[in-house]
Amino acid sequence: MNYIDKLLQSEDLVSPGISACQGCGAELILRTALKIMGKDTAVVIPPGCMAGAGAVGWNFDNGLKVPVHISLLDNTAAFMTGVKTMYELSGKDTKVVGIAGDGATSDCGFQSLSGAAERGEDLIYICYDNEGYMNTGFQRSGTTSKGSSTSTTPVGKVIKGKEQNKKDLPMIMADHDIAYTATLSPAYMQDFVRKLEKAVSMKGGFRYLHIYSPCPTGWGTAPECSIDIARKAVQTNFFPLYEVENHKYTINIEIKNPQPVSELIKQMGKFRHLAEEDIQEMQKMVDKKYNKLKALAAMSQDN
């Protein structure tokens, strides 16, 4: 079945009435991911946008049509491990899926994530990367891009936005020697669905999916442009789409003539203050990282 039919025919497992901000990447990711995961799934979501949007339920009601638990901000992968362990002991095949923001994944949640990855737990962990703590008003996270204006790295007279580079989560996770690591973009739905299906089809092992998740509210972008922005992030090599399996790095969408990164960031309020030299520096960083990925992919072909 092609991916469009698959998405058309799969039940939406998010409860009616649940919605996030206009143009939210994470809501699209949640709905699409759950369609592919199917009903025999238990979901763990730490505090963050998807919890705040009500996916974890309200009062006595569930926000999903599958079991869901709002974990602590920092224990998602450990809680998932406990659930999966007991499911295995009781002969259940149910998938245990984590859907967490980049803050809960890369900062305080990283220890438990790294532990579960190192143990090779049979789990699927999805990180929707909107580059900050967006649910609480866009505070900086370890995965906020350099230069971003956030509520904790404001643009002042002396300091202008976040001064540090973005932590490269998918590369770090791949280096845990886990079963599967992939980057996904909601602008490339065929690739997106294939990677989710692949994660589901794998028997055992830790699967980490890192998904670029535009955030109009936090980033200062037009809600109707979210998919366009997600596409540009790929076409500028700012967020390349690749997967890693058994130390084999594969670039899934190769961009023949990448656009300059300025094409991406000019649409974003969080980068409005950047000077020409800041943008050049960002371009250099994008090029360096992409060259590293290309080198890894080339090396993988030789293996």
Partner: protein, 395 residues
């Protein structure tokens, strides 16, 4: 009766968990707890215990793993001490407020700073209001037996709360004692397989476990949690009686009285120091002094009625704490006992005593001196200043 072995407190805790048929164990090493889970890891590696061991990267994750496992219907176990307990505080608090039953052993250790690894009760005392049931064991047999009793209490439908079995680090965790090991079949009969009514994370019943909950509903949860704690008072007593019927050993339920019948003055103790205090009571009785002992076995829920019944007609009592309460110039148990007696309209002389911190010894001589002080205090109604048990004697 099963066989007789020599076992440390840590091995006793591990054997209690194994006999209770735990299915999921997750822990992170810390002195003086480590050998609890080392023992269980060996049993699992040898195939002697059909459980799953999840070796995590921190105590925070250890508690989180068992939280997930119990939410999915498991009987689970972990153990920790001091800094490990402090690190796991976040999921620790949530375990009780999610009303997920389990047993966790705490090999008590002083909290840093100053740096140290030795025994104390400051770790578990500091979390006495995180919603868990807390037992304090006097000896290794009691550790083993209380782990088994703990599962029965925790999983009772009128309780549904996690249980700490606390015991003094090194003094018990590393001390070998004679243990009567119950037969597996006897334990199986005492605590049948866990059959949760509370099983929340079941794909067949897709519920949200802990949705966002506003204050008016949250207060109902708190009210029922407090009620469950009160229910536990009776169930702990009843479970200890049932245990006695099945295994021939009893620990008095919530508290244990020793030579209190005609006593004018009472020592109140908790944990391993109790054995030494018994010797001191015997020695003073030989001298004709009417001294008795009240051992607090359960700190949470606090056995208010029991404490009132034992202490309300005495001339004086001293409470010996292996912990401090920073906001008061006393230990925590002293405050609890005083609170229990408040409202009775009686003034009974009392002495707050602090000792044994960071692995320091509490000696029989210390207790003898406390009893001498109580003799004096009993002559008038006084609230004595805090007494410290030091190397050179009481100060």
């Amino acid at each position: 009766m099963g066989k007789i072995i020599a076992a440390t407190g840590n091995t006793s805790a591990a054997l209690g968990a194994a006999l209770s048929g735990v299915q999921v164990v997750s822990a992170y090493p810390i002195t003086p707890q480590s050998s609890v889970v080392e023992y269980l890891a060996k049993m699992i590696a040898d195939g002697a215990l059909p459980a799953r061991m999840v070796q995590v990267e921190s105590e925070h994750s250890a508690m989180s793993v068992v939280q997930g496992a119990v939410a999915a219907g498991a009987r689970a176990f972990t153990a920790t001490s001091a800094q490990g307990l402090a690190l796991m505080y976040e999921p620790y608090f949530r375990m009780s407020t999610l009303r997920l039953p389990m047993v966790m052993a705490i090999a008590g250790r002083e909290m840093t700073s100053p740096e140290g690894v030795w025994g104390g009760q400051q770790d578990s005392i500091s979390v006495r209001d995180a919603g868990w049931i807390q037992y304090y064991a006097e000896n290794n047999q009691e550790i083993l037996d209380t782990v088994i009793q703990g599962y029965k209490v925790a999983e009772n439908n009128d309780v549904l709360l996690p249980v700490n079995v606390c015991y003094d680090g090194f003094f018990l965790s590393h001390l070998y004692e004679r243990i009567e090991l119950p037969e597996q079949s006897e334990v199986d009969a005492f605590i049948p397989k866990y059959n949760p009514v509370h099983y929340a994370f079941d794909p067949a019943k897709p519920m949200a476990l802990d949705p966002m909950t506003p204050g008016d509903i949250l207060m109902e949860y708190r009210e029922s949690h407090l009620q469950a704690m009160q229910n536990a008072l009776g169930i702990i007593e009843q479970t200890d009686k049932e245990f006695e019927k099945a295994f021939g050993r009893s620990y008095g339920g919530l508290v244990e009285e020793y030579r209190c019948e005609d006593a004018d003055i009472i020592l109140v103790t908790m944990g391993s120091m109790t054995g030494t205090a018994r010797e001191a009571i015997d020695a003073k009785r030989e001298e004709g002094i009417k001294a008795g002992l009240l051992k607090i076995r359960v700190m949470r829920p606090f056995p208010v009625e029991k404490v009132r019944n034992v202490l309300s007609e005495r001339k004086a009592f001293a409470v010996v704490d292996r912990n401090v309460c920073f906001g008061w110039n006393t230990g925590a148990l002293y405050m609890e006992v005083k609170a229990a007696l408040g409202g009775l309209g009686k003034r009974i002389s009392s002495i707050p005593v602090i000792g044994g911190l960071g692995g320091a010894d509490i000696t029989q001589e210390h207790f003898m001196q406390c009893i001498d002080l109580l003799e004096e205090a009993g002559k008038s109604q006084v609230e004595h200043k805090t007494v410290w048990l030091k190397k050179e004697g009481i100060v």
